[in-house]
Each structure stands twice: as C-alpha cells, then as structure tokens.
C-alpha cells in the first residue's frame, strides 16, 4: 500500500486531483513525488507537500491535516483510497469506480458529478453533497455515497442516478431539482426537500414539512425500499427492523414539475 503523508497544512488550498489509487498503481515513488498539484495558483509537485512511503498497488492511503486539500480521489476509477482524517472540498468529485473512505468529515461539493464507485464518509459532509457542478443541470449520475454523520444543504441537487444515504440529519433543499436517484436520511431533513424534483425518491425516517406542491397518495410498504435499506444496513448504516419493515406515506411531487418524484415518509408510531 502506498501512503502519502501531508507534512503540514498548506497556507492556501492544495488541489490534488491526480492522487487516485488507479493512477498511482503503476508509479514508482519518484514518479509519485513528481506528480503535479496546484497550490493556489502555483504549480507544484506532490513531493513538495507529501512524504511518500510504501509501494504502489490497488490501495492508497493519505494522512495528515487534509482539510485544505481539495479533489482527493476525484475521478478515481478503481482501487481503494483511504483518507485518515478530514478531507477538503470536492472529495471524490467525478468518481467512476473504486471505494473512497474518509475517516473524518468532508467539505462542500463532495461526490459532485459522481458516476460510479462508493464514497464513504465516516464523519459529516458539507453542502452540495453528490450535487452538480455550478452551471451544470445534472448532478451525480451513479454510484453510492454513505455519510455516517450529518450533511449540509442541497444534498443531491440535480441528482440523476445513484444513492445518497446519510445516517444523520440533512440540511435544507435536499434533492433540489433532482432528476432521479435516491436520497435517504435517517436523521431527518431540513426545509423544502424535493423542491422542483422531477423524478426520484427521497426517504425520510421522521416527519418532514413538505411543500404544498406535493400530494399524498397512500401508506404502503415499498418493495424496493426493503432491498435498498437492507443494502445500506449491510454497509454499516444503523437501520432498524422497524425502518426496513415499516409502512411509508407516499407523497408525489413536485407538482410544479412532472409530479413523478416521491417522498416516502416512515409512518410514525403513536
């Protein structure tokens, strides 16, 4: 396993979008140290900031205070990247495959434009998790994002395909203008979930204040949800039997769009 250890936190954000296990798998230590990174507006080398140890393979580990390191794992296609602590903005942006595990929290725009693979955040995530890049219509197009803490605003904005699951609470405007895909939050949603959604599913395990443009359909047990929630429990999310077996209220919306989306709300027990 190759390990990169950040010597000290950079004074301005460091953009390290080439540090992916698939790209480094065949590199020698010298080649890794010579890879380009951007420190602010200055082109630098990996070796200027990171101590490189171990041998390259399918696994890559990055250590240190990485809160100002952006684009970690961005565009990775295979292998496993472990970030031993917090990570900066755009972590896992545009991922296409492999697994990226962040032991701490991630900044804003984590997993934006993802197309495949799995991003696991053991802490909390910032805003625009799995969302779209500014100016783009569609956000995440595939893959899975699991957050064990909370997540900020506009989670899954423009979501096109894929699964975002948050064990904690999700901020306002989750699923804003989402096109399809699934967002699950075990700790509840902020205001206006699903605003302007066209298709897709938002799953809430507690009561949510909905926009008036959503219409109630019925209470039922969605068969697909059992498959999804069992999958998430197998991945380590703390789902209860009551959540997996329970009845959900189906609200269809957004009525200002296609009304083909849904918000499934776990029936509250008296």
């Amino acid at each position: 396993m190759l390990t990169l250890t950040l010597r000290e936190q950079p004074t301005v954000p460091l953009e390290a979008d080439g540090l992916t296990p698939d790209r480094l798998a065949t590199c020698s230590r010298g080649e890794v140290e010579a890879l380009a990174v951007w420190h602010g507006n200055r082109r630098s080398q990996v070796g200027d900031f990171f101590a490189v140890s171990g041998s390259a393979g399918e696994e890559l580990r990055v250590e240190g205070d990485l809160r100002r390191v952006k684009f970690l794992g961005a565009g990775m296609t295979a292998g496993r990247l472990t970030v031993a602590g917090d990570a900066g903005m755009h972590t896992g942006a545009g991922m296409r495959g492999g697994e990226l595990v962040v032991a701490g929290a991630v900044g804003d725009f984590a997993g934006v434009g993802m197309r495949g693979g799995r991003l696991v955040v053991e802490g909390s995530a910032g805003h625009h998790l799995g969302g779209h890049q500014p100016g783009e219509r569609a956000g995440m197009r595939g893959g899975e994002i699991l957050v064990h803490g909370d997540a900020g605003e506009q989670v899954g904005a423009g979501l096109r395909r894929g699964l975002i699951a948050v064990a904690g609470r999700v901020g306002d405007a989750a699923g804003l203008r989402m096109l399809a895909g699934t967002i699950v939050a075990l700790g509840g949603f902020g205001a206006r979930p699903g605003a302007a959604m066209r298709r897709g599913t938002i799953v809430a395990m507690s009561q949510v204040t909905l926009l008036p443009t959503f219409g109630f359909a019925c209470f039922y047990r969605p068969p697909f949800l059992r498959v999804y929630l069992r999958h998430l429990r197998a991945l380590g999310l703390p789902l209860t039997d009551e959540q997996i077996d329970g009845r959900y209220a189906r609200w269809c919306g957004d009525g200002l769009e296609l009304r083909r989306g849904e918000i499934l709300m776990l029936e509250s027990r008296p």
Partner: protein, 300 residues
Amino acid sequence: MRLSGAEIVDTFAEAFPMWGARIVVTAETPGWAHEAARSLTGFATSVIGCKCEAGIERELDPDETPDGRPGVSALLFAPDRDGLAKRLVERVGQCVLTCPTTACFNGLEGEETVNVGGQLRFFGDGYQASKVLDGRRYWRVPVMEGEFLVQERFVVAEGVAGGNIIMLGRDGASALRAAEAAAAAMRTVREVILPFPGGIARSGSKVGSRYSGLMASTNDALCPTLRAQVSNTEVPPGVGSVFEIVIDGLTLEAVSDAMARGLEAAARSGASHVTAGNYGGDLGPYHIALKDLVRGAGRA
C-alpha cells in the same frame, strides 16, 4: 448389478444441454411465495408440449432473499436462449406479477442475461419507475395492491436436461412407493428440478409415433400392459408398473448427484429394477451411466 435387492440395469441416461434460469420469488408469507412459484412452474413438464420445463428448487429463508422476505427459488429451462426469455416474460408476467405481495428477482450469477423486468415494466403504462442498486436495475410497476418489484435482467446459463431414472416394480403400489422415495431424495439436491407432477412421470415417451405430426408417443417398450404385444419389450417378467423421474439441472454434477440419490432411494424402497432412458447415445452429449452412479456412492 444389484443394489439393495434391486437390479440396476447396465445402461445410461442420455442428457442434453438446455438453457436455464433461476427465479427467486418473495412474498409477505411463505404461503404466497409458494402460490406464485407453483403458478410460475405450472404446465411446464416437458418442452415437447409446454415449451419449457420448470419446477420449484427449494424454499428460501428470509436472510437468503434480496428483500429479506420468505421466498421460493424456481428453475426454468427451455431449448434456446430466446425461448427461455419469452417463457420468463410470460410466466413472471402472468403468474408472479399477478400474485398478491410478491416480488421477483434473478437468482443466478453469470454474464449472459435476458430482459424480463424491462419488458414487464410496460404494464405500468408509463407510471413505472426504475431503481439501480449495486449495478442491478429493478422496475417498480404500480398495481392495484401497491407495487410489483421485478429485476430487469435475469441470468441465463446452459444447463443439463433429460437426466432420468426409471423404476420398475412388481405392482403399481410398490413401484410408486419407490418412485416417491426417489423423488424425495432428489429434492434434497440443489440446482435441480423434477418437472413432472410430484416429480414423477407415469407416461415416459419415445421419440416419434406411427401417427404423422406427433413428436412423441408412449414408451411401449416399458408399458407392462403391452409386454405380450410388442417385440421389443423391456419389461421383465413379474413387473407390473413403471415410473420415470426426469431431472433438469444447472450442472451435470447436480443432475448426476440427484440421479445417484434417487437410484439408491428407489432401490431401498422396493423397486425391482432401476433403469434409465436414452436414445442410443446419438441425441445428447451427456451420458450418465447408472453403474457409475452406484460405484460413485461406494457400492460397486
């Protein structure tokens, strides 16, 4: 060769390739899963008259199914890949989609797939929705009860059809007892089905007929009532009834294992003779010799 008092005829079962699929049906209760699976595998005894052969493989515990509900796995076989795809769409559409509380999943691993849920989704008349999880696409079809969930693609694989053993007995009761014991023993083997009613066929057939247009007709050589009429009778003196068990499976090993267990159970349960059906070795590439099955079980 004798086994537990039964004569094991020195012959072989002639089996041939057939495309197979495993369908996992789940439901709120084991009862409804069985209802759907029985319907799904109904009228599927022989490709000669039913276009496919199907049967229930086994009951599944909730922790074995994709949605954690009670389930049943069924195997369905057809002569070619496209035919199998059609049968799957027809049968899942008519027998599982219609059955209360059920969902339907692919139960095989493999590369070759056919589109099932992607055809059935059109029943949703535009209100269907898809979900992709872990690389698998599922279709959610709204129905009056609630929602039917079906996996889009089902894996199809080349299996083995036409494994068989034939049990002879002094009379109908003893021959049937031996056949029932054999069928029960065979059902303990995974990856196989016994497509005939209760697993047992009383009307084994031969290829062709004196009547033009009939693909198959009664196996006169093994009909005890014709023993004095046909020149090629294979019914020994003292035999009053004959039953056949046909085995289809996903692998040759599974079919052979089932045959071995069935043969042993039949011999122990009063069969006077156990033989097998073949076409002289010219039709199917798999020749399963009964003596090898007996030797394989350590009873040479």
